[in-house]
């Protein structure tokens, strides 16, 4: 696996990783390993993250009450900590996505004339 700088840590806006995690969990509970891979695959490997950085983020989200955790067993029978979205987390995700869309559209409008 190629070793690269994690774009999430160096370039991405704080909070973006949170949004991605919340988005991943909308499909159902998952543990850290699944979440990391889901984000990588979902972005077609554009977003390479250092998987370790996920855990402080998970802790922070849980601390804010947006996700909840429980211990379970993984697909290949390993003990794993699962996270699920809480109602508050769902609300937060909607709010963040809306805001994100607005920002992206705004930036898009500014960039469009230059592209043409």
């Amino acid at each position: 696996m190629p070793r690269r700088e994690s774009p999430l840590q160096s370039e991405m806006v704080q909070g973006t990783l949170d949004m991605l995690i919340l988005q991943t969990l909308i499909l159902g509970p998952a543990h850290g390993h699944t979440i990391a891979h889901a984000i990588e695959h979902g972005s077609e490997d554009v977003l390479q993250i250092e998987h370790g950085s996920l855990y402080p983020a998970l802790h922070r989200l849980e601390d804010r009450g947006w996700i909840a955790s429980f211990w379970g067993t993984s697909e290949n029978n390993r003990k794993a900590k699962y996270y699920r979205l809480t109602p508050a987390g769902r609300k937060q995700l909607i709010a963040q996505t809306t805001r994100w869309d607005q920002v992206v559209r705004a930036i898009g409008r500014i960039l469009k004339p230059a592209a043409e």
Partner: protein, 905 residues
């Protein structure tokens, strides 16, 4: 961040570690599934994860309260630093322990006496029924103001609108016989309402009740009778009956009269200021009480929410009612009391209990507080020196990334630890100091038995420790954790030459110390001068150590007739006088400064004319035996003393004090032969002698005008034609006074006359005299200790600063000496430096002392708060001490070898 999370963070950390571990395993599984060898698969998984420790630390950091975390580290670091520099720590700790200990001890006394509420339920409602009567001439001599008469008590108790309960009481001594040896005990006589006012339930049995008030036997002063029941104090119950509960209902013989015990009051119960053994009911015959008889202390419990002013107004409203409702007998008019201008002046009971001790305690607390400030200044100086030595360390820590705030805090934590450790030692010291304080405290220090180190005192100590820690730590911390740190590293190892700025703080501290020490020494000096002034006062008796006193009571129930009482007393005088070493014996109703309530009344003179209804000035009067003045040593100014023939013959004679003679007739000799009387109906008595003034109420108090009557007199109230004072104090002049052998002989002599007579309060006049000076000597000792401590700490402070300056300026001195400076010059330079600081301190201190000593005005006697001698002597003492303290290190400076000093760099 929650505090529980903070303490549970180890748990959290473990969970994270497991979670991350499970990630690594899953990733490894995936990698193996992709065909990697297991070792490589694990390695790849770890690489994918990143720095595990960092992740854990990041999460750990989210869960921590950084302040608490680093505080713990600072405490550990501080302890290590203190242990490292043991000499410094010990010196600083001792200084602090003494300072904090002294403060804690004095505060615990202050707290127990002044701050804690009295030991009665809802004590804030309790008041003492004090009354002023500015129009009553002569009353100014009586510190208690105008006491209540029985008729006043009835009027107040029956018609007031602002009290839940009120009552009157008086203290007395009675003899109890039939238990063991005959014994004189302290009794309080209480009217109905007193126990109800105080509201303390009995420990056993019941209170004295209304039924106990019914007069069962009439005594010579018709309006006061005695009841058939009695209550015991807890102490007397334990002492005489071993705390036996079956004592309720039993009888004891009080003043030869059988009385039934109905109850016991609980431990620690006092009636205002009175410690007592027995409580008896005060029985007035309501049909016979008159307007006069102002001899009873009143206390009351206000209705909830009633202010003192309102209660005063309520009682003032009742005074005309009182004048109209009662009489002093046929031909008298109650309205005459209008000219006395009687004004109720209730005061909180606590104030009554505490009395004038408050002044002393606040002054002592203030001086001890100053000592604490001086001690703190010394510790600050020590810390400054140490911080200088530690500059390297601090600079290194700063270089390694410690912020200024962190460094300041770390230094403060260290000094607060020092303060707290000093506090712990201080509490230990205070425990011992307290015993000392209580031992030397005035014997009449109120609430003595309540003094203890309680939670409030401990809180005070902790507060004081922390505050002083912050106080003496802040200056060095701010100074040395400052931004100049980088400079220090560069100049490492080289002693910089004297910088003015570096010494400014230290000099300021020394100046402040000297100034405070001066204030304390001036206060101590003023107390010494006060004490001296008191010692020179002629108290009205001589050679007190050779004057034995004892109180003997012949109860009327044992012997009632005046002549027989006088005969017994005369026999005692003769028997005691025949004991070897006794030169003279006499007796009186009370000796000077004895503290038994004095009698007083209006005194009329035959050669003066009085307008109808005019009340002449009130005068003290006492009853004395023949030879009494000769025995005590009170000088006869004019005329002669009473003789036994005159006493037995009921001759109408009297003696008066010199000041009374001068006031009434201009000179002592003019008074002899004049005639006076107490009542309109009484026969005129001839003044046969004028006696020097006696300080009846203590050395500090002005000598009152006194009339001395013979101890036997025509009886105007009770049965029989003659009455005599049954309870008197004997005075025995002997060089063996106070020795055990002598006292045994005296006891045998008394019992050979009558074996059922108890001897009470056996002591020498010296003890009585010392006790009257106790307030002053206590203050003197306390201020003396504070002054001595301040002087010592001040000397140490000056010494420290000069010694430090010398060590810092070795190079400069070396150059000076090398350039030809003489040893003397170098010495003078440093002594001059020390004296200069002291001089500034003295000037500032003088200014402060002039202001502050005004506060202790009430404690002074015979001198002004700006006593010139004190103000001249103290700076000399301080200057000498300062010169000495600077001379020692200066001598070392002069001995500096220039070669050595310059080579050392």
């Amino acid at each position: 961040m929650g505090i529980t999370r903070f303490f549970r963070r180890a748990n959290w950390d473990r969970e994270r570690r497991e979670e991350i571990e499970s990630y690594v395993q899953m990733e490894t599984d995936d990698n193996i599934a992709r065909g990697m060898p297991s070792a490589a698969a694990n390695l790849a998984a770890r690489r994918k994860l990143g720095n595990r420790t960092l992740i854990r630390e990041e999460i750990y950091g989210m869960n921590t309260i950084a302040f608490l975390d680093t505080l713990g580290r600072d405490v550990r670091y501080g302890l290590r630093a203190l242990r490292h520099n043991l000499t410094f720590t010990i010196v600083a700790l001792l200084t602090l322990a003494i300072g904090i200990g002294a403060n804690t001890a004095v505060f615990s006394v202050l707290n127990s006496v002044l701050l804690k509420p009295l030991a009665y339920p809802k004590a804030e409602e309790l008041v003492a029924l004090r009354q002023l009567a500015p129009g009553a001439a002569g009353l100014a001599s009586f510190s208690d103001g105008l006491l209540l008469s029985p008729s006043m008590y009835y009027t107040y108790a029956e018609h007031n609108r602002t009290f839940q309960a009120l009552g009157v009481w008086t203290a007395n001594t009675v003899s109890v016989t039939g238990l063991a040896e005959p014994e004189q005990v302290r009794a309080v006589l209480i009217s109905e309402g007193v126990l109800e006012t105080l509201g303390v339930p009995p420990a056993a049995g019941r209170w004295l009740s209304h039924a106990d008030q019914i007069p069962v036997a009439r005594e010579q002063f018709g309006f006061v009778g005695r009841s058939a029941t009695v209550m015991l104090s807890y102490g007397y119950w334990q002492r005489r009956f071993g705390g036996d509960r079956s004592v309720i209902g039993r009888s004891i013989t009080v003043d030869s009269r059988t009385k039934q015990i109905v109850g016991v009051m609980p431990r620690g119960f006092r009636l205002v200021n009175a410690d007592f053994d027995l409580i008896e009911a005060l029985v007035f015959d309501r049909n016979r009480v008159i307007l006069a008889g102002f001899g009873f202390n009143g206390i009351g419990r206000l209705k909830p929410g009633v202010a003192i002013a309102k209660a005063n107004a309520d009682l003032a409203r009742l005074l005309p009612v009182w004048m109209d409702s009662w009489t002093n007998g046929p031909g008298t008019n109650g309205q005459v009391y209008k000219i006395w201008r009687i004004t109720p002046a209730l005061r909180p009971l606590k104030q009554e209990v505490v009395g004038n001790v408050g002044d002393i305690l606040w002054v002592v607390m203030g001086t001890i507080g100053l000592v604490m400030l001086i001690a703190c200044a010394n510790v600050t100086n020590l810390l400054l020196v140490r911080a200088e030595v530690r500059q390297q360390e601090l600079a290194l820590r700063a270089a390694l990334g410690a912020g200024r705030g962190r460094l300041v805090r770390s230094l403060l934590v260290e000094s607060v630890i020092l303060g707290l450790m000093g506090g712990v030692l201080g509490v230990g010291l205070a425990y011992w100091g307290l015993r000392f304080l209580v031992a030397i405290g005035p014997a009449n220090l109120p609430r003595l038995n309540e003094i203890s180190i309680d939670p409030r005192t401990l809180a005070f100590t902790v507060g004081l420790s922390v505050l002083s820690g912050l106080f003496f730590g802040l200056i060095p911390a701010l100074k040395y954790a400052g931004p100049r740190i980088s400079l220090v590293l560069r100049s490492a190892g080289r002693t910089a030459s004297l910088s003015r700025e570096r010494h400014r703080v230290r000099n300021l501290l020394v100046v402040a110390q000297v100034a405070m020490a001066l204030v304390l020494l001036v206060s101590a000096g003023l107390m010494i001068r006060t004490f001296q002034a008191l010692r020179t006062v002629q108290p009205g008796f001589t050679n007190a150590a050779q004057l034995q006193t004892m109180r003997i009571s012949i109860p009327p129930s044992l012997v009632a007739e005046g002549p027989r009482i006088t005969r017994i007393q005369n026999d005692i005088v003769d028997k005691v006088a025949s004991i070897p070493g006794v030169t003279s014996v006499g007796f009186a109703s009370q000796l000077p400064m004895e503290g038994y309530g004095s009698n007083w009344d209006e005194i009329f003179a035959q050669d003066k004319t009085y307008t109808p209804g005019e009340i002449p000035p009130l005068r003290f009067y006492k009853y004395v035996s023949p030879g009494y003045f000769h025995t005590t040593g009170a000088r006869l100014i004019a005329g002669r003393e009473l003789t036994w023939t005159e006493l037995y013959g009921i001759r109408p004679v009297a003696m008066i004090s010199e000041n009374l003679a001068r006031e009434m007739w201009g000179s002592p000799s003019a008074a002899v032969g004049k005639r006076i009387r107490e009542f309109m109906q009484a026969p005129w008595s001839e003044v046969i002698g004028v006696i020097e003034d006696v300080r009846e109420n203590g050395v500090q108090e002005k000598a009152p005008e006194i009339v001395y009557w013979p101890t036997m007199m025509p009886n105007m109230f009770g049965p029989g034609p003659l009455a005599a004072m049954g309870t008197v104090t004997f005075a025995i002049r002997s060089n063996r006074a106070g020795t055990e052998g002598f006292l045994n002989q005296v006891r045998q002599a008394v019992w050979s006359v009558n074996s059922s007579l108890p001897l009470a309060t056996v002591r020498t006049m010296q003890e009585v005299y010392d006790q009257s000076l106790a307030r002053t000597s206590f203050t003197l000792v306390m201020l003396g200790i504070a002054g001595a401590m301040a002087l010592l700490l001040g000397i140490v402070g000056i010494y420290g600063v000069i010694a430090y300056a010398v060590s810092q300026r070795r190079r400069e001195i070396g150059i000076r000496v090398a350039l030809g400076a003489q040893q003397g010059e170098v010495q003078r330079m440093f002594v001059g430096y020390g004296l200069g600081l002291a001089a500034v301190g003295v000037v500032l201190g003088m200014a402060a002392a002039v202001g502050l000593t005004q506060l202790m005005k009430s404690l002074l006697f015979g001198i002004s708060p700006v006593d010139p001698l004190t103000y001249a002597a103290v700076p000399v003492v301080l200057g000498t001490a300062a010169a000495l303290a600077s001379y020692l290190p200066a001598r070392r400076a002069a001995a500096v070898d220039p070669v050595e000093a310059l080579k050392a760099e």
